[in-house]
Point group: C2
Chain length 582, copies 2
């Protein structure tokens, strides 16, 4: 064989900096539960959750199910002796920082209790017990009543018990109606009852199944943590409009166990768990075939990046010779920065989409006409806040709040332009970004002077103490996210609505500016109508025309544009509804 037929590829990139220290003591979590072959719940969901939490996962299987969201087709109990050998081997040879239990069998509970009882209480790993009732999942291995008996035996050894309302009623030996959940305080009382009834020191009573119909809690998921020291934390999150909820119980308990294994406090571990499940439901995933109508699984990997994509973007990536598709190549160029200079990126400019745009005007017009963007753009540029500034009817303290938030926004805006500079594909783009940063700093100085004279602020330190409000936090968080995880093209799209929208909004009220010319309101309006601002907007138009030639994925650009227009609207909403007592 001649060596000319073969291609040699060196695979030698060092592991990323995040792993500077080799042989780190990974936090470890063992799941004692049942396998769900379709991967949405059971030990599969547990292992996915441990992995997403940078934990090392171990298993001890009590039973196996052959199931999909549609049905449970088979259930097979693991022999007691095998279960016992797996459990004791892990406890003896492996480090186990935390244990999470899910669906168990009579045998497995007995063996587990035996094993835990042999360990000194202070040396036991953290134990999170998700008191799954088998009947509700359709399996018939054991009856609910016997499960309840088993959970009660296990609970005193546990660090945390995480029943939902259904499981709580069974554990308390009453019907769900008898729990009488009309207020949050009722939930707290039931959590306290559960603590007494089960002997488990900490109870997380999950309210996801409580509809709170007719109360102010409707649309909000309320979970209550009642702790060993009789403290109580009420966690509230918006109810997600998703049917993909299969596996939430397993996942929450596993996420909490992972956080505990990392050494977090219980309060924090629960916070992180709820947040992770909340996001995993909200993002969702589609992995069932089209004939399946039942609830699909949640998305355990929403925050994970594909290693191969990351490698291709890596400066030390050495397999450029291997065939990769054009989108990847572009992403890689984008990440490599200047080396894949702007000219090569412009070469992809002959796509049909681009000529379509050329015919119909600027890409900006395309963006604001997109049905996903249009309603948010309209609410943004026709905002009542602007109208009230223009006619002078806006309350002064609301304007002051706005100016302060806007000042903090500019601070963040400058940071984000630094990130844009670091991603710039061409030297000119880099220089442009640095220029903008300098301009923003100048504008902030003007801002400060204006506010100091108008609002009689004497101490410069005042500006360091401005607290970002929720609307600004959301906005800044989105910027940060796109700047860190998106490409330069995505970031340009995200930075555009602020520039374009203020100009358009002021143009819409230009004829109705009736406020006195000496008023700070008047000066504010004129700023966004000034020739220098209009010039900036024209540069903005050209930039959008350019970035649309650098990607075929205009959908994502529209989604980003829509999201930022919504954030801009909410930013003005926050000022309009500001009350000093806040």
């Amino acid at each position: 064989m001649s060596s000319s037929e073969k291609q040699k590829v060196v695979v030698n990139t060092a592991p990323p900096y995040v792993a500077l220290r080799p042989n780190d003591k990974l936090a470890t979590v063992m799941t004692v539960a049942t396998s769900d072959s379709s991967g949405g719940a059971g030990i599969e969901a547990d292992l996915k959750t441990f992995t997403a939490h940078k934990c090392y996962g171990l298993t001890c299987l009590a039973a196996l199910t052959a199931q999909t969201p549609k049905n449970i087709y088979s259930i097979h109990e693991v022999p007691r002796e095998h279960f016992k050998l797996a459990l004791t081997a892990n406890m003896r040879d492996m480090r186990v920082d935390a244990i999470k239990t899910g669906m168990l069998t009579k045998n497995s509970v007995e063996v587990l209790i035996e094993a835990l009882s042999e360990i000194e209480p202070t040396k036991r790993p953290a134990l999170v017990v998700d008191p799954v009732l088998v009947a509700s999942s359709g399996a018939t291995l054991v009856s609910d009543d016997s499960v309840v008996q088993q959970i009660k035996l296990l609970a005193p050894l546990a660090s945390l018990l995480t029943p939902n309302i259904h499981e709580a009623s069974k554990l308390l030996g009453c019907s769900e109606e008898m729990l009488k959940l009309n207020t949050v305080d009722d939930m707290i009382s039931r959590a306290k009852d559960l603590q007494k009834e089960t002997g488990c020191p900490n109870i997380l009573l999950k309210g996801g199944h409580v509809s709170w119909e007719g109360t102010e809690l409707k649309g909000i998921v309320t979970d209550v943590l009642y702790t060993a020291s009789n403290e109580c934390i009420v966690y509230q999150s918006d109810r997600c409009d998703s049917k993909n909820t299969h596996g939430t119980g397993c996942t929450l308990a596993s996420a909490i166990a992972s956080n505990l294994a990392h050494g977090e406090t219980l309060e924090h571990a629960v916070y992180g768990g709820i947040q992770y499940v909340h996001n995993a439901i909200q993002v969702g995933c589609e992995v069932t075939r089209s004939h399946i109508e039942e609830n699909g699984p949640i998305n355990h990997v929403y925050a994970i990046k594909m290693p191969l994509l990351e490698m291709v973007k890596d400066l030390c990536y050495s397999a450029h010779a291997l065939a990769i598709n054009s989108e990847r190549e572009l992403a890689a160029k984008d990440a490599r920065g200047r080396s894949g200079s702007s000219s090569s990126q412009n070469s992809s400019s002959t796509s049909s989409l681009v000529s379509q745009i050329r015919d119909s005007g600027h890409f900006f017009e395309y963006l604001i006409s997109d049905p996903r963007v249009k309603p948010h753009w309209e609410s943004y540029v026709n905002h009542e806040f602007v109208r009230k500034v223009a006619n002078g009817t806006l309350e002064r303290e609301k304007f002051r709040f706005f100016l302060e938030q806007d000042y903090a926004y500019l601070d963040n805006y400058a940071q984000i332009h630094c990130l844009a500079a670091s991603k710039a594909p061409a030297v000119e783009d880099f220089d442009k970004s640095v220029e903008i940063v300098t301009k923003i700093k100048t504008e902030m100085e003007k801002h400060r002077e204006k506010m100091m004279s108008h609002f009689k602020i004497e101490d410069m330190k005042h500006f360091d103490t401005i607290r970002m409000g929720p609307a600004l936090r959301n906005y800044a968080r989105f910027f940060d996210d796109v700047a860190k995880n998106g490409s330069w093209v995505h970031l340009c799209a995200a930075l555009s609505p602020c520039l374009m929208g203020y100009g358009h909004a002021l143009r819409k009220v230009e004829k109705d500016i009736t406020v006195d010319k000496d008023d700070i309101y008047y000066a504010w309006c004129q700023d966004y109508l000034a020739p220098w601002y209009v010039e900036g907007m024209e540069e903005g138009l050209i930039l959008l025309d350019r970035i649309c030639q650098m990607t075929d994925d205009w959908d994502t650009l529209c989604e980003i544009y829509a999201a930022v227009c919504k954030l801009e609207t909410e930013f003005w909403d926050a000022a309009l509804h500001y009350q000093e007592s806040n």
Copy 2:
């Protein structure tokens, strides 16, 4: 219950931008294999790998083992009927983009072949078969011979077969010696033989167990991919000096299957798989108890970040009231930027470590005296490259290569300072970074002018076409990594050696600068001895003194300093050993 006893926490952060599109069709992979209770191999390793590759994992268990790295304590075969129900349920109700098989049983292979044969060849999911020989793992469920028979039945249905040398010899029906592996071409021939013998169109012959003693391939792992179109790719990577290799086979096959499920080409999928396993071995993890001396598992989660830590850093994080430890708080402040202003960070300056430094001089001295840093610092500041510039004996083309690489370095250095600005904890730090960026741009201009006149370069475009050499790529990659994943403090530590080292290196040869004063070499030497440069170094000293007060984790700072000193040394090495033919 009065409401004053409870604490309310809102958990409502939107999922990150990476997941802008809800209900994404996650790539799905099903593992058909055996459970390893200790989590290092088997379906546990598979699920961890799928998750780390942003894939949705499904399972179909052929058997269960109770094992740890020390021993296999029990093995339990899953009944044929249950296995069949799990497999057919997944194939019918779930989307399965790829399948990976590991340790199988006679029953499971038969059922799998039956199920796959019912699917039209073009509609079959990608199938990666890792031909695990059970005997080598100590289990006795089936004999090697019968496994070989089973694999041969399955292979024609597979997309890829991934035998190691041991498995290859069994599949080819000969002893390992009879494979006669003395050169890479021998491996290619054996891969070709395997293709013929098994009927599997693509073969990845893994050379990890070949020592290549006495050949030039010693110390390098060589894997050979022989494809259906008779093309051959030779993948080479440095052999890792780690005993944590348990589960590498399962993990490689799972990583390849994940990449195929994402729609990658086979060549790329294999590249990504090898890289992932290489990193997972290199990073390693410690999860066994101290009495276990056997090979531990690899680290599947090396690139994953802890969700809770990310949440705490999030702008929209709303549980500040919950107790968190001070390190986390600091990280959060760092990430929140200006709002946790510099004064509050300085308040942690009273640690004993700091007073220890105060007694012994600058933190810089501490850093370069650390045993991890010292050898790298010494090689760096006593580099022969500098001595040869100073006495004029360095070949001109080597200096030219250096200047060009240094120009490209500055370009990158400016980008990284932009990232530093975006992370700056205080306004002054931000301004300082932007100031440095501007200075670097000026220096690049001077660089260009100098090189144009000295090397008679006429076309400015020349500077856009400079290709980064391997040493610079490694260096830039490290910067990029710290800038994106590290804190501002870490980034400051990474940016320091360049500034400090050049000054110190030149000071060491100051008395031996014998090159002509008109020479570009002379000017280069004087640049780093000039008063403005020394001033910069003094600012650098103060910055290091400041950052050491912002963290207790000086170990990481030392590791970063050592890593960058090594990269600087390699940068000069590359110039010193440059040959024009390269």
